[in-house]
Symmetry: D2
Subunit: 261 residues, 4 copies
């Protein structure tokens, strides 16, 4: 069965700014989606923030294996209920690829538990995205580094938890460095943050950047059945324990009672 | 300067249940606080959920180096604003030690980004807390394992992120296992989860358990100045870059503009 | 293309001990190899310590994607040159699955950099191998735990580096616990240690144990081209740097000189 | 009691090269040792490769809490027996700080289990050592980055295991990046690799570099008693198990027998 990718985009800069509209006439979501076109193992769809439920209904998320997320100006307008829904689906096993300015998205901050802050500068400088973990699936088919002619600078310290794996580190013409490709696991879901992708530049038309996105979709896909019970806290009665057991000492809970949350 | 420990407790079971009241006549918070009494390098205070702002005012948190947290029945009643305040203080560098049923506290779930769920059983069975990472500061002075005569069972899978360090693993008479001592870093703050401590048993009177709490306070203390700017996203102007830089290409942001959140 | 699995066995107990011979008449290597029989994506072969070059010639390792390793009595007789050859091949990307008593094999100790010691007892007790990381590919298709009627006990502390992922934790009838399934990455190669498999018991005829081995082969397979240059330390001349550069200050090395090792 | 630091140096460039002799007239070891002079909590001594047993006798290592290691031209001449002795002492709890070209030392490669290779260039270019993990004890008292006017370039991929913590990342004038401060734990011993320190430049006279060395000594010090039994594999007899146990099934080992290695 195919990997079902859903590309989500705030889709605001494209409406408001002539430059962005020219670079991404069909929206950043469709530029990202192009990374998966023609791949026999992947099907791709898009969703945007202005749709009902931000295009992320329960059914749609259930039918999504890997979600890509681009947002910037309207992070604060994303409904907390939808964020919780996405988070719960990641825990069940949906992969999540967080792009560029979405480091400050509600969903990424919730999954990380940290501020996810950084330094920045918009000066069109050269970014070199060095491949640190050369044998990682997300780096498949890449040269030593990706050179991007014009990009926004993001600089350390990037206040994220220590990553599971550091795949890419960027440096910028102005002298800063940044961990630009990092992986995490949250519940059954794999999470990948990828830095490049400022809306003022044609980054999502760069074939090597698109290759990273394609690799990331395959890496983030967890083929295991959804772990729908991951948020449960089941009581195991004493007579169902692996080793036969008599109840000893005092008790506060009755048999079969639900735990406190 | 001393390590300023604050022990926070929901303090509800102690009021409502005769058994718990008998075990902990001064509340679980005071039993935990006893772990630090007489230590020349530590000062200790307590706070409870029923106090104004749950006893966790801005000033009080600012004056706290390590916060211990015990909660169970009233997780849901903890004010989200206070939870955000505690989280921000952890990011700045305050240590947090999360006890037993507080695996389901709002603050722990927010810092982990995962459900933090588990299996459980209240049958007064024996728990053996094995020391896995023998040279870890939190295990200082302990034997091979702590044997607790009566404890509530917590069983895997415990839906937490892969820990930075696994210090303890418990097994229970009924046959389950559990990662009962795990460490994390979130921003500048160190986080330790420690499993034992069911309110129906005298666990917090066990000298080896108290030794773990004492060790944890010292381990979780970060002597660095508070990282108060950790949530900022400063713009670095092109003429302040480490390497002299001219602006190239188009821009969407004006100089000195704040980033979107 | 298939995943090319090679199962390596010391093959000594099977010759010397009637009990082991009865349990594994074709050797432990063939019992392990049975895990992969009939799988369309895997081809399997075996090698033993008594063969020339321990059956691990340069050509054979080059043609191996995942190596399984069982050894016990004759760890000390494995040729250091062959161990170095296997290690170099792991760095290039060959997966390695280390079984049971091979925790003390030269190859595992070299890849870990630690003693890899543990406690043990041979008493035929029940082992329960709990699935901790339920969504991990190595746990695919397993129930909550694997129950093995008779196994040798291994107890913590297991002196290994903190794992990349803890997949399984065992407890034993006598009360000990053990991290019985742990993953690592070394260079481009993935390493998995799996505890069960004492030669005195029919563990490698247990279908759930065989399922773990099958899962492990798929997980440990790195489809990337072999990273044959991983041990090189190339000099990058100043005129080949990504950013044009003049040599400044004094130098000790001549252009194109090899670095010291 | 003081932290007993021992600074070990190959001490070869200083004898053979006029430039290095001028920069470090008393040897690199004494320049490094200067970092600890006048600190009330530290005592410091030095040892060099040309001394008997490389200055690393059993007694001396036993009396060392943190060992600093600088080597380059003569890695291959370090006696394997001494390397094993140092490794065993790290396992027991001695801290190890590995400097610059010692990435290729036998002791670092053995503890990592990987090639520890990298790219390099000697062009006197500017290195900026960015502080990534700002609240880490090793970064105490540092600004955003350390700027070093002339340094040798080391470039990724650096073939090390994924670090426990990434404290520093450097970029170089020529455009490369490098994880220049990384931490590990091996047994009870803490290991820190720190990149700067090419013999042709006055790096070890830079006060910020010396501050890192001082911080590293304090961080790497494990005050726990030496874990001298870490390499043992004790048999736990069935009648000494935490839970009373009868021997079941067949056995290959006799009571009290030593395990195979």
């Amino acid at each position: 069965m195919s990997i079902r990718v859903l590309v989500w985009n705030e889709n605001e800069h494209e409406k408001k700014n002539a430059l962005v509209k020219k670079l991404y006439p069909d929206g950043i979501h469709n530029a990202v989606a192009a990374a998966f076109k023609g791949q026999p193992d992947i099907t791709v769809a898009t969703a945007t923030q202005d749709q009902p439920e931000h295009g992320l209904t329960v059914e749609r998320l259930k039918a999504t294996d890997v979600l890509f997320w681009w947002g910037h100006m309207k992070h604060g307008d994303v409904d907390d209920k939808i964020v919780e829904r996405v988070q719960a689906r990641v825990w069940e096993g949906m992969g999540l690829v967080v792009l560029h300015s979405a480091h400050f998205s509600k969903i990424f901050k919730r999954l990380m538990g940290t501020p996810c802050a950084l330094k920045w500068r918009e000066a069109g400088e050269v970014e070199r995205v060095w491949v640190i973990n050369r044998s990682h699936p997300i780096a498949a088919g890449l040269p030593e580094y990706i050179e991007i002619e014009h990009e926004e600078m993001y600089g350390e310290p990037f206040s994220i938890p220590e990553p599971m794996e550091t795949v890419f580190i960027s440096h910028f013409e102005g002298g800063e460095v940044f961990r630009s490709g990092v992986t995490y696991q949250r519940g059954a879901g794999r999470v990948f943050y990828f830095r490049p992708g400022h809306e003022a530049y044609p980054t999502y038309h760069n074939p090597q950047v698109l290759r990273v996105l394609l690799n990331a979709a395959r890496w983030a896909h967890n083929p295991a059945p959804a772990w729908t019970s991951i948020n449960d806290a089941p009581n195991v009665p004493h007579d169902k324990a692996p080793v036969p057991l008599e109840v000893k000492g005092p008790r506060l809970h009755a048999d079969g009672e639900a735990g406190h949350r």
